[in-house]
């Protein structure tokens, strides 16, 4: 009944990965994701997985956190696997009722699963080691060249940062409202699709109303603290790239290329 969420959660630790420049981490994650899509065989994925494992160890993040990031998507991952297993044409290795599992299907399925798991793990590691503000600072800084053509990079970054800040608050609030309505005899898990949608009204309506109220309060609090958009704003954190940052980016690219070539 309760919703758990690990994506977008920052784990403040003091590690060499945490200390890396967030821009570099963001770029390196993007690069890894691109390579994940290019790679087409297991050896490449294995190499990337080893790289990921190394990073997790260096980051001091308990591996369980990465797993928690995967868990909500487990159903989706399994579904993809079985879809590939049963829909790919090729040598039949087993048959169950009208479903035929093929060798090629097994291979494709496992590749897709590896791809998903790596994708999610890399991005989870990014959000666990960068605070939302660092992440959005990095995004804003990387997008800033686009400002000249009128792209609202500051506004987008600010919106993202606030969204991430309020994820835990909203998750807690949703759980509380669900419990409150269940305590009033509401059924939220039974009935057909139409009924279920109707059953969501007592949860979604208060959630929207409370969220608007929060947004109102927050806007006022920001105004009181002299927020007036990105113009003339400074940042507490100054990001300067060190040798370690360049080294990390270099290693990431090399590992990526190696895993494609292997």
């Amino acid at each position: 009944m309760a919703i758990e969420i690990s994506f977008g959660q920052y784990l403040p630790l003091n590690s060499s990965i945490h200390r890396l420049d967030p821009r570099i981490k963001l770029i390196a994650t993007f690069i890894s994701i691109i390579f994940i899509f290019i790679i087409k065989d297991f050896l490449g994925y294995a190499l990337l997985a080893c790289f990921l494992l190394g990073l997790i160890i260096l980051s001091k993040v308990p591996p369980l956190y990465i797993f928690r990031g995967l868990r909500p998507l487990l159903f989706f991952i399994l579904l993809t696997f079985f879809l590939h297993l049963f829909t790919t044409q090729g040598t039949v290795i087993f048959q169950w009722w009208f479903l035929k599992g093929t060798m090629e299907g097994l291979r494709n399925g496992l590749l897709m699963v590896s791809r998903f798991m790596l994708l999610i793990s890399f991005s989870t590691l990014l959000t666990l080691t960068c605070s939302p503000l660092e992440l959005t600072d990095a995004l804003e800084s990387l997008l800033s060249p686009l400002k000249r053509i009128g792209f609202p990079s500051h506004e987008i970054a600010m919106m993202m940062s606030i969204a991430l800040r309020f994820i835990p608050v909203l998750v807690e609030e949703t759980n509380r409202i669900i419990k409150a309505q269940v305590a009033r005899g509401a059924d939220i898990e039974s009935g057909g699709i139409l009924n279920r949608a109707k059953n969501l009204i007592p949860i979604l309506v208060p959630l929207f109303i409370n969220t608007f109220k929060r947004a109102d309060d927050l806007a006022l609090a920001m105004e009181v603290r002299c927020y007036r958009g990105g113009e003339g704003r400074t940042k507490m954190k100054e990001y300067t790239l060190s040798h370690r940052d360049y080294l990390f980016l270099f290693i990431s690219i090399i590992v990526g290329i190696l895993s494609v070539l292997i």
């Binding site: 269940v182 009033r184 309506v205 208060p206």
Partner: protein
């Protein structure tokens, strides 16, 4: 007849098998009888909210048994009927309001339990009288009401289901003194006149202790005190140590006691404090007089 609610060695763990796991309840034994007015007190994080969610099966114990009116909640399939018996009002209940009219909001629970529209109308009208909100037209939108009125509507929506026990989590939070007093009086009335069992959760002893006939103090997932307000106030030192709001008059008499005054400090209201202090001053006066006589 079995107790209304009984907990036998109840343990509850959040986030089992995760780096964030912790025990919120550690071996709770508790019996709640019909007609009691209980206040569950404890600092933030002591497990109060976790505890009350066991009363209606929103949470099930990791270890131990919760028995509501003879039915064990971990074994029954029919939690819905337990949730009707145990009416639960969450913190800031006005934030769960969703209906277009006050009537629909009050009827929501009753509709979930399949009452006929005639019965619902009757019960809705009755509950608005009980909580002193019958002056508000029922076809009005609940969102146009004041904060205090919205709180009452939300509380009434639970009460309309005619629970046997009424559990309220911090029902007074954020209300002004007048609103707090009125609400407490109405809940007290329901307890005395309609023999509704009431459980109020709070982190402040000062207000609720005037009405509750039993106080349960929770600390770090265990019950550290359970008794009448007068018994509880004997342990003022401990209450102050764990930063619970203690009535100032109790704190005052306790401080005087510590400084050598031979007075009780487990008092319940200002009049008792007045009597205690006057009596103590008189005894001091007599002693002073005796001393003057003996020295002269």
């Amino acid at each position: 007849m079995p107790s209304l609610i009984e907990l036998r060695d109840v343990w509850y763990q959040y986030n089992p098998n995760s780096p964030l796991s912790y025990w919120a309840l550690k071996g709770i034994n508790l019996k709640i009888e019909r007609g009691e007015f209980i206040s569950i007190i404890g600092p933030t994080g002591s497990g109060k909210s976790t505890l009350i969610q066991h009363f209606n099966g929103l949470l099930k114990p990791t270890k131990g048994e919760v028995i509501v009116d003879g039915i064990e909640i971990s074994k029954t399939k029919d939690l819905k009927s337990i949730r009707k018996k145990v009416g639960m009002v969450f913190q800031y209940p006005e934030t769960q309001i969703f209906s277009e009219t006050i009537y629909d909001e009050l009827a929501f629970g009753l509709r979930n339990y399949g009452y006929s529209e005639d019965e619902i109308r009757e019960k809705v009208e009755e509950v608005t009288k009980k909580l002193g909100i019958d002056y508000i037209p029922l076809d009005k939108s609940p969102f146009l009401l004041s904060g205090g009125e919205m709180r009452r509507i939300a509380i009434a929506s639970i009460l309309a289901m005619e629970p046997e026990v009424f559990v309220l989590d911090e029902p007074l939070a954020n209300l002004d003194p007048k609103g707090r007093k009125e609400l407490l009086k109405e809940i007290d009335y329901l307890n005395r006149k309609e023999s509704l069992t009431v459980i109020i959760v709070s982190h402040d002893l000062s207000e609720v202790s005037r009405y509750a006939d039993r106080i349960i103090v929770l600390f770090d997932g265990t019950i550290i005190m359970d008794g009448s307000p007068r018994e509880i106030f004997k342990n003022v030192e401990k209450l102050l140590e764990i930063s619970l709001g203690v009535p100032q008059i109790v704190e005052l008499l306790y401080t005087l006691h510590k400084k050598g005054a031979d007075i009780p400090y487990n008092i319940l209201n200002i009049d008792e404090a007045v009597k205690t202090i006057v009596k103590w001053r008189k005894s001091l006066g007599n002693r002073d007089k005796l001393r003057t006589i003996s020295t002269s």
